[in-house]
């Protein structure tokens, strides 16, 4: 995506207020507030202020929201994939989905995990970029194949299976599916960016 395409996409999914009204603080159920603390702990955000609008929107449907969060906690907090590899896959997913919120949050998480600026640029170019290890290239390509062909191809699978056990291999398409789902939800509901985030321009 060039500058113009980024501007067009952000106008489409961020250019107007959220499509579903965020609930006011006094409308939030205690169940939702507890969940906010849980996910904040997993992400290392002691006061999940940044996530507040998302919570207030999803709080219309607390039962479903709890389930959705629990899958996320399982993947982020207790998952089988090494954290940097997990974030590479999520970032490629967020980029291909044109998802400014997801992209900017996970670039920030990846940077905290020590992923450098050059690697972020490489995620944007994709599996064809020079500089990936064979395993990383297969990881990025797996995301691309899932988005385009709805399954991981044989060559990519074989490379991943050299490094990963069965639990990790099961987790990858689940992870990409979860973050495609998050992108669909956030883009559709027009979730505004957190204060200090730069959407698809986040590096």
């Amino acid at each position: 995506m060039n500058d113009e395409q980024i501007a067009a996409r952000e106008a489409e999914v961020l250019g107007a207020p959220p499509r579903v009204r965020p609930l006011a603080p006094e409308e939030l159920s205690p169940e939702v507030a507890e969940l906010a603390r849980e996910i904040g702990n997993v992400l290392g955000i002691p006061e999940p202020e940044d996530l507040a609008i998302w919570f207030k929107i999803m709080a219309h449907h607390p039962g479903l929201y709890r389930r959705h969060l629990e899958v996320g906690i399982e993947l982020l907090g207790r998952g089988a994939l090494p954290p940097v590899e997990r974030e590479l896959a999520i970032m490629r997913t967020g980029w291909l989905c044109g998802a400014p919120y997801e992209w900017s949050e996970h670039v920030a998480i990846a940077r905290k995990l020590g992923v450098d600026a050059a690697t972020i640029e490489r995620v944007i170019v994709g599996s064809a970029a020079p500089g990936w290890s064979e395993h990383e290239r297969a990881l990025i390509r797996a995301v691309e194949e899932l988005l385009a062909d709805k399954m991981i191809g044989d060559a990519t699978w074989e490379v991943l299976a050299r490094s990963w056990n069965e639990r990790q291999l099961i987790e990858l398409p689940t992870l990409v599916g979860q973050y495609v789902a998050v992108a669909m939800m956030q883009n559709s509901l027009r979730l505004p960016l957190s204060h200090d985030r730069h959407g698809l321009r986040q590096r």
Binding site: R9, E12, V13, R19, V20, R21, I57, M58, H60, H61, G63, L64, R67, H68, E70, V71, E74, L75, R78, A80, L96, C97, G98, A99, L146, L147, A148, K150, M151, I152, W157, E166, R167, L169, I170, E171, L172, P173, T174, V176, G177, Q178, V180, A181, V182, A183, M184, M185, N187, S188, L189
Partner: protein, 209 residues
């Protein structure tokens, strides 16, 4: 972000089915007689919550994902919550049919042809789901459901006109639930396609109507 498919799709059913399920599972299911401990308990908990009490045979799908039991539990719980959600079941199943078809997902498509008919989707509508939102015959609301699936899978967002049509019928809970459902069934198709999940004996896959 990519191409939005609003009509017939260019897919050779036999070739796709060979690609997705033809070579057998990439991860072997845990054999029934060795299916014990945590993975079995996850399946028992989920099955009992929907009133199934005989656990002498656990489907291969669950015995495969049972290799990651905690994730299986979370996924199944999300699925159950969607199944008892706020969108009318017939409308949910219409959406899932279009999802399974656009994902070229033999397992998901075949399963939901059966399930959708139980919830009032007609044989004609199953066929129409393969032709997409541009096919004649949909009500305005049903057409918007199919179009929203097409937009989410092709562009990961819902267009303004489609959203406005849905919002005339659905409340805020249902509008939040919808992209969550689409995401969940996209994720399920990714897993089933990628693991080359074997089709159950009563599921012919993409040729099923």
């Amino acid at each position: 972000m990519g191409k939005i498919e609003r009509g017939d799709i260019d897919v050779d059913i036999a070739a796709r089915q060979r690609q997705v399920v033809g070579n057998g599972p990439r991860i072997a299911p845990i054999p029934q007689d060795q299916f014990v401990g945590e993975p079995l308990q996850v399946c028992i908990d989920i099955r009992e919550s929907i009133g199934v009490t005989d656990h002498s045979f656990i489907p291969e799908y669950m015995r495969t994902l049972g290799k990651h039991p905690k994730l299986l539990r979370r996924q199944m719980e999300t699925g159950m919550t969607i199944f008892t959600g706020t969108i009318p079941p017939r409308e949910r199943e219409l959406a899932i049919l279009r999802i399974g078809w656009l994902m070229r997902a033999p397992y998901e498509w075949g399963e939901h042809v059966d399930i959708s008919k139980r919830y009032g989707v007609t044989a004609e509508e199953v066929e129409r789901a393969t032709h997409g939102s541009s096919a004649p015959g949909w009500s305005e609301h049903d057409r918007a459901i199919i179009a929203a699936v097409e937009e989410l899978i092709g562009d990961q967002a819902i267009a303004e006109e489609t959203w406005n049509t849905l919002a005339r019928t659905w409340n805020e809970q249902q509008l939040i639930e919808f992209p969550t459902i689409v995401g969940q069934y996209v994720a399920t198709a990714y897993v089933q396609n990628t693991l080359r999940m074997r089709l159950a004996s009563d599921n012919p896959g993409l040729s099923f109507r």
